[in-house]
């Protein structure tokens, strides 16, 4: 696979897409961990959700 004279542009664009997508994944995953940690912290402190909740109050 020869990329010709503009190889750097091709590689840069692929690398950039990979970087941004990875960043998104890392961000979403870290956010998930953070929210989970907060939830368990709150539940440990004794605040509990009202037993059965409807969709109206997420």
């Amino acid at each position: 696979m020869a990329l010709g004279p503009y190889a750097s542009f091709i590689v840069t664009s692929y690398a950039l897409v990979a970087a941004v997508v990875l960043l998104l994944i890392v961000w979403i995953f870290a956010d998930y961990r953070r929210q989970q940690a907060r939830l368990s912290e709150l539940e440990a402190s004794g605040v509990t959700r009202r037993s059965r909740r409807t969709a109206a109050d997420i």
Partner: protein, 256 residues
């Protein structure tokens, strides 16, 4: 699975927990196939190897519009059915859409550099994508500016729908503005006459990126639901009996 089940956030959480690994796996496999095929694809007689940028540029450009479509549907859900899950879907989609639009812009500009000799040309397509990117950013700013999520959702829904109506008008105006100023001397990118050897990898990549979006979107929606739970729990905590500290030291939380 009836829609009403999906509408329940707890069910939604359980369901996403189950299907996310499968979705992620499918995305990874399709991406691998797509990348392999794009690597094997021949050079274009006119653009040479730079045509390879197309295989990631076009899916991103497609997603930049597709995500706005998803947000518009969610906006309808917010305004018509007042469904909180629609709010969540709209909010979670905005940053992801902005990221894909950004990638469409940057890959477009990197593709254009060998063609035009500059990184940026006020080409009609790129300019339209740039405006779309600005609209994503303004939508995110709106989400950030309003503290109460359901009020923010309604404002953002209206902006999203107005944007959806406006995008074709903007596109038309930009095209007109562009042809007025420079007759078609610029090489049109990704013209309609695509060879089959390009079409297949492109299609696979487009599907792979769409799956990637769905995976990320579901995960982000799950985060948003959790965030709202945290918020409502915090509000309950704030309004909890005020004299807990005086009644018993044992129920005190260890934050102090």
């Amino acid at each position: 699975m009836p829609l009403i089940d999906l509408a329940n956030p707890s069910r939604f959480l359980a369901l996403t927990g189950r299907i996310l690994p499968w979705l992620a796996g499918a995305t990874a496999i399709l991406l691998a196939i797509g990348l392999y095929q794009s690597a094997l694809a021949p050079d274009d007689y006119q653009q040479g190897a730079t045509v390879k940028i197309m295989f990631i540029h076009v899916p991103n450009a497609w997603l930049s519009m597709f995500v706005w479509g998803v947000m518009s549907l969610a906006a309808l859900g917010t305004l018509v059915w007042r469904h909180p899950l629609a709010d969540v879907a709209a909010k979670a989609a905005a940053p992801i859409g902005a990221a894909f639009t950004f990638l469409a812009l940057v890959t477009g500009s990197l593709w254009g550099r060998p063609m035009w000799g500059t990184y940026w040309e006020w080409d009609a397509r790129l300019t339209s994508v740039l405006i779309l990117f600005l609209m994503y950013l303004s939508l995110m700013a709106l989400w950030r500016a309003v503290e109460d999520p359901s009020r923010a959702a309604r404002a953002a829904a209206i902006l999203t729908l107005v944007g959806a109506i406006n995008i074709p008008i903007i596109k038309f105006s930009v095209d007109w503005w562009n042809t007025l100023h420079q007759p078609a001397s610029v090489i049109r990118m990704g013209g309609p006459t695509l060879d089959k050897s390009f079409l297949w990898p492109l299609l696979v990549m487009a599907i792979a990126f769409s799956l990637l979006f769905i995976t990320l979107h579901l995960a982000a929606m799950r985060n948003e639901i959790l965030r709202r739970r945290v918020r409502s729990l915090q509000m309950m905590q704030a309004s909890r009996t005020v004299f807990s500290s005086e009644q018993s030291a044992s129920t005190k939380m260890g934050t102090a």
